[in-house]
């Protein structure tokens, strides 16, 4: 009996090892959401990287925190998100490689309000506590010396637009594409987009485990090169995203209506500065530190924080040469 148990244990262990060995070749990418129009540029970059020999597989998680946790526990190699709090608090050896998008969000209100200061003491609808829009609200408060009233949370910009249209909220903060959809619709005349300061901080960034990044430097370099080239080309001509989208890939399989809007989405996004063509780098790192300290996700003064503790810039520097 003991013998049998031992044999089984060895067999299970061997199976587990061979399974990890088999998958070690592929880069495992943890997406923070299911593939949508917003990820089209990322998938174009993946196609380019694949053409240069990168082998990858991706898994979509239902939210950013799960993607971060999967990278923390080593089940995924590279993830999507802004894991600043995780890097600082859990001392996780995780580094950001590339800024995928900036925190471009827009305060939208009913006609009752015309500037941010009018929202002093007024209730506001945000994504989630501790999330990006919550941090925007925190920074608005500290920059303008005001305070929002009760904050309620409804995940998803489109759901917050629905709440706005249904009269269940008077003020919210939503993303670029939902803002454009709302303001270009007939109902748009009932709402105001309030003027806000520019935000350079990251909304989504690509990050990975430092050991893994250093051990797979070649693959990482191919990936970052592809991202930089895609983002640069996109800035010159946003329609390349639609043209280069693989019709058999996850984005190409989306409904025709969504694909038809890709050109409009990326033209708007490039115009609004949602993406930095150079992957952010030191500028983004600095902006992130200031932003996430102000938003309460990072402890300590932003001047004392060390960029190298949060970003691994070597691949991006090499790609920009």
């Amino acid at each position: 009996m003991k013998h049998l148990l031992k044999k089984t244990a060895v067999a299970v262990l061997a199976l587990g090892l061979s399974a990890t060995a088999a998958t070690a070749e592929k880069i495992r990418i943890a997406l923070a959401e299911t593939p949508s129009d917003e990820l089209a540029a990322f998938f174009v970059a993946l196609e380019r990287a694949k053409a240069n020999g990168l082998d990858y597989e991706w898994t979509a998680f239902s939210d950013e925190e799960l993607a971060i946790q999967a990278v923390l526990s080593g089940q995924m190699d590279i993830g999507f998100g802004t894991p600043y709090a995780a890097m600082q608090r859990s001392k996780a050896p995780i580094r950001i490689l590339f800024q995928l998008s900036k925190l471009k969000f827009f305060p939208v209100t009913t006609k009752t309000y015309s500037k941010l200061e009018d929202l002093n003491g007024e209730p506001i609808l945000l994504h989630s506590r501790g999330g990006g829009t919550d941090s925007i609200a925190n920074v608005i408060e500290s920059k303008l010396g005001m305070e929002f009233g009760e904050r309620s949370y409804v995940p998803g910009s489109s759901n917050r637009v629905a709440a706005l249209l249904g009269g269940r909220a008077d003020a919210t903060i939503i993303d670029l594409s939902n803002k454009n959809k709302l303001m270009r619709s007939e109902a748009g005349s009932n709402f105001n987009v309030l003027e806000m300061f520019d935000v350079e901080a990251s909304d989504e960034a690509l990050f990975g485990n430092l050991d893994w990044i250093q051990n797979n430097a070649d693959d990482v370099q191919i990936f970052i090169n592809a991202l930089v080239s895609t983002y640069t080309d996109m800035h010159d001509d946003p329609t390349i995203i639609r043209r280069e989208t693989n019709p058999d890939g996850p984005i190409g399989q989306l409904p025709e209506e969504i694909l038809a809007e890709l050109d409009g989405f990326y033209s708007d996004a490039v115009e609004a500065g949602l993406y930095s063509p150079d992957g952010g780098g030191r500028v983004a790192a600095k902006a992130d530190m200031e932003w996430y300290s102000a938003a309460g996700q990072l402890d300590g003064s932003p001047d004392e924080l060390n960029i190298e503790d949060f970003w691994y810039l070597a691949p991006l520097d090499a790609a920009m040469k």
């Binding site: 923390l72 080593g74 709090a85 608090r89 859990s90 501790g130 949370y153 269940r168 309460g296």
Partner: protein, 275 residues
């Protein structure tokens, strides 16, 4: 199960209550030992660590203590207990009433049983958007989630128990010219009570799951908010402390329910796993 007894017969006095359970001290020792093993394993898993996102037991308890002292935990529970208490109360009262009805009448069985079987099998998390569409993001939706989780098992268990009341007991009642109401109150309900309470226990545990599910999936408030917020700022000890606290509350509540059963229907206890 050395103290197994035949199916409870209402009104029939059994031996002294003290002989029914294992010695309390032994039960207590077993409970403490199993808790120690569990928490020890948690502590070790946290220290290894199995994941950087998994805190040790002591860190989590530290976070729990901190939240209890600064009041975060109590404000969160004041929020979470609203849908939970309302939902569980509705499910228990309405569930037992409907269950009795379904068990007593073939017509209502035909009418209601399928609804509850569908409710029990439905993938609730996937249906939450529909509930939000119909009832908004407020308390109503959350109470409904709790009810959908808790009610089916209460109704179906009650109905099954009522249907399985020994026929001979009911006939005896009729032979003694008891009214229908007396037969229900004095024969059927006491005979069905062990299974009704089993259903209540399962239903209420499901209700706890529903309350947290609603807070995670509809709008983060109360304990669900502590869980999502701590996770988004990578304060994993607080996240696990919140999860631990809700499990603890559920266990305590189920124990209370069991004590209530022991007081209400003496003679039915047969030593449950959770005691």
């Amino acid at each position: 199960m050395t103290n197994a007894e035949p199916t409870a017969v209402p009104g029939a006095p059994f031996g002294a209550p003290g002989t029914k359970r294992p010695l309390p001290s032994r039960a207590l020792v077993l409970k403490i030992v199993s808790a120690l093993i569990l928490f020890g394993a948690w502590e070790i898993a946290g220290r290894v660590p199995v994941s950087l996102a998994f805190p040790t037991f002591l860190e989590s308890m530290g976070a729990l203590f901190r939240m209890a002292v600064d009041g975060t935990l109590w404000t969160a529970y004041a929020e979470t207990l609203q849908p939970l208490a309302v939902g569980v109360a509705i499910s228990a009262v309405l569930g037992i009433a409907i269950g009795l009805w379904v068990g007593l009448s073939d017509f209502f069985d035909w009418l209601f049983s399928p609804i509850f079987i569908v409710m029990q099998a439905a993938p609730l998390a996937a249906l939450i958007p529909l509930l939000v569409l119909a009832y908004g993001i407020g308390l109503t939706s959350k109470v409904l989630v709790v009810c959908i989780m808790a009610m089916p098992v209460i109704v179906l268990n009650t109905a099954g128990a009522v249907r399985n009341t020994p026929e001979s007991m009911k006939e005896m009642g009729k032979a003694f010219l008891a009214s229908d109401l007396s037969i229900i109150l004095k024969i059927i309900i006491p005979a069905a009570s062990p299974v009704i309470f089993a259903g209540l226990r399962l239903g209420i545990s499901a209700g706890f799951i529903g309350a947290i599910l609603a807070e995670l999936k509809i709008t983060p408030t109360g304990v669900g908010d502590i869980i999502t917020y701590s996770r988004s700022i990578a304060d994993y000890p607080s996240m696990y402390a919140a999860i631990f606290s809700i499990i603890l509350l559920a266990v305590l509540f189920l124990n209370l329910l069991e004590k209530t059963e022991a007081v209400l229907f003496k003679g039915n206890q047969r030593g449950y796993v959770s005691d």
